[in-house]
Symmetry: D3
Subunit: 121 residues, 6 copies
Amino acid sequence: MSENSQNQVESFNAYRAKMNDKILGDKNKIINRIFNLDTNAFAAGALDVKTKELLGLVASTVLRCDDCVKYHLESCFNEGVTKEEVMETLSIGTLVGGTIVIPHLRRAYEFWEALEENAVK
Amino acid sequence: MSENSQNQVESFNAYRAKMNDKILGDKNKIINRIFNLDTNAFAAGALDVKTKELLGLVASTVLRCDDCVKYHLESCFNEGVTKEEVMETLSIGTLVGGTIVIPHLRRAYEFWEALEENAVK
Amino acid sequence: MSENSQNQVESFNAYRAKMNDKILGDKNKIINRIFNLDTNAFAAGALDVKTKELLGLVASTVLRCDDCVKYHLESCFNEGVTKEEVMETLSIGTLVGGTIVIPHLRRAYEFWEALEENAVK
Amino acid sequence: MSENSQNQVESFNAYRAKMNDKILGDKNKIINRIFNLDTNAFAAGALDVKTKELLGLVASTVLRCDDCVKYHLESCFNEGVTKEEVMETLSIGTLVGGTIVIPHLRRAYEFWEALEENAVK
Amino acid sequence: MSENSQNQVESFNAYRAKMNDKILGDKNKIINRIFNLDTNAFAAGALDVKTKELLGLVASTVLRCDDCVKYHLESCFNEGVTKEEVMETLSIGTLVGGTIVIPHLRRAYEFWEALEENAVK
Amino acid sequence: MSENSQNQVESFNAYRAKMNDKILGDKNKIINRIFNLDTNAFAAGALDVKTKELLGLVASTVLRCDDCVKYHLESCFNEGVTKEEVMETLSIGTLVGGTIVIPHLRRAYEFWEALEENAVK
């Protein structure tokens, strides 16, 4: 495994966890409830977790939010989504959202590779 | 079935079909290929048609495009997606996209009702 | 009072209320909680209601959501916000959001006039 | 010439002019200066008026603002831009902005037809 | 005071000042006037400076512009806005703009901490 | 020529080329066709290449995509577009897209300087 891939995933998760802790610790009621809703919305319901994570991924892609894309890519990876399924989801995001999405596609692809490399260690 | 519901679905489809014909007939190569890609991207692949239509629905929702939402709602309806699955998809769209999505949620809900009423005739 | 102004405000509120009732009655937990949060977020806290409504107005303006703008204009009107304060808020929205906001500014201005005319009856 | 085409262009222009007059008459300094800048930015400079109008058109297209698209279509029409040049501009807008632009493309195409029909009278 | 916090605020301001100087020195009339309008729009009027800075902050938040958020956070800080008021403003931004705003919320929170730490030196 | 300018342009191009190769090599049909359309849409037609690159630049600017802006700046530079023409294009983008575009304007200006410095070597 390349040091670099590990670092990309780990540093993303570390910063995310550190800042989430601080924000939640600030106890703004509205923000804390939105964080809570986020957990609930992606839990299994009429749709299974995998489908919901793909929905989160495509929504993040068309809204061009790199960090949100990374977060859902990692959840997809942990749910056993295949690379081909991810690519089809990203292809819909790129078609619907336009070529303006392509720079985010590049970073998404790189992050998925990092997730795969980390898993092989 | 209310006259109104039938009209909403029919007039949406009629305008869409009429203008698509005109645009495609204009033979701009780039535009025609994008229309063609749109058909291909939602065909069955690693992901099935139903999942892809839900992806199209949530992407349209967060980008707040009423006509795109209606189009994917109708495709979802024809694919046998249940109302509960649609609502979970729209709930993810509203959470990810924010309360700014709510006016579009109202129109989406109304259009889904029109689709259901039309089907009962 | 012109019939027209009354109609614009009333028909906006009537459709909004009717569809909100249907959506809330559908009991999707995520959506209902988001509606609930919306009520809470604009209640008095460290910032007063008036300031929060102005925040909601400018956010809706730069995101170019006509219905959201109308909703917050009506709340501002009920809170006693003056036209000059509304115009300064809209001017910041137009500067930050760009000239692409101008068509929404026209509709906002028209709706505010309708609110004023309705109040004089 | 169809009555309908005339109406579409005329009613768009009439509403735009009426509301602009009201807004400018309100004398908010920031808003009035932004309107003024808008006139200046599209005047001939290093780039000619035609090119600038095409820039305004594609910017309005990717930001999905129907009224802004109509405004720049009419200016393009008055500058003698050909339909083929408009379609190439809209094709770039649709590619860069994604299929989410297509509903706006339909309305743009219809408005251009109305401009052409009005000119033949 | 951590070296890091000082650097974050200082390097942001230094780059901003350096590039603004270059851009303004280029003497494009439209751009220079927009910069000028920006100064005017946030000056005291019917609304006070503090309220206007909060409006700028929430507009920047829902449009997900990190640099704009930082700029208004610093102005808010200098105007004596409390952390609780900032958090309520950011909570409205996150609710209206959706969870897609959260990564920007993390960076906003971190920047506010840097502003506070710098002030204690 | 400053080492820094060379690095900015080169590292942008190197990352872009590396990731494009990987993505195209993945052979997702939709994505590969979108990349292909991108090449075609900016080829000479009713509008010349220079005008099309300016259209791509302003579209990227109002959509606030730094990498897309850089890409079109480099193409403009290679087409012999003058700095004054670029600035007028960016001024339209900043006016239409609002002051939220300004941080992207700073980075665009810096990248154009890097392109100019690299050319002098």
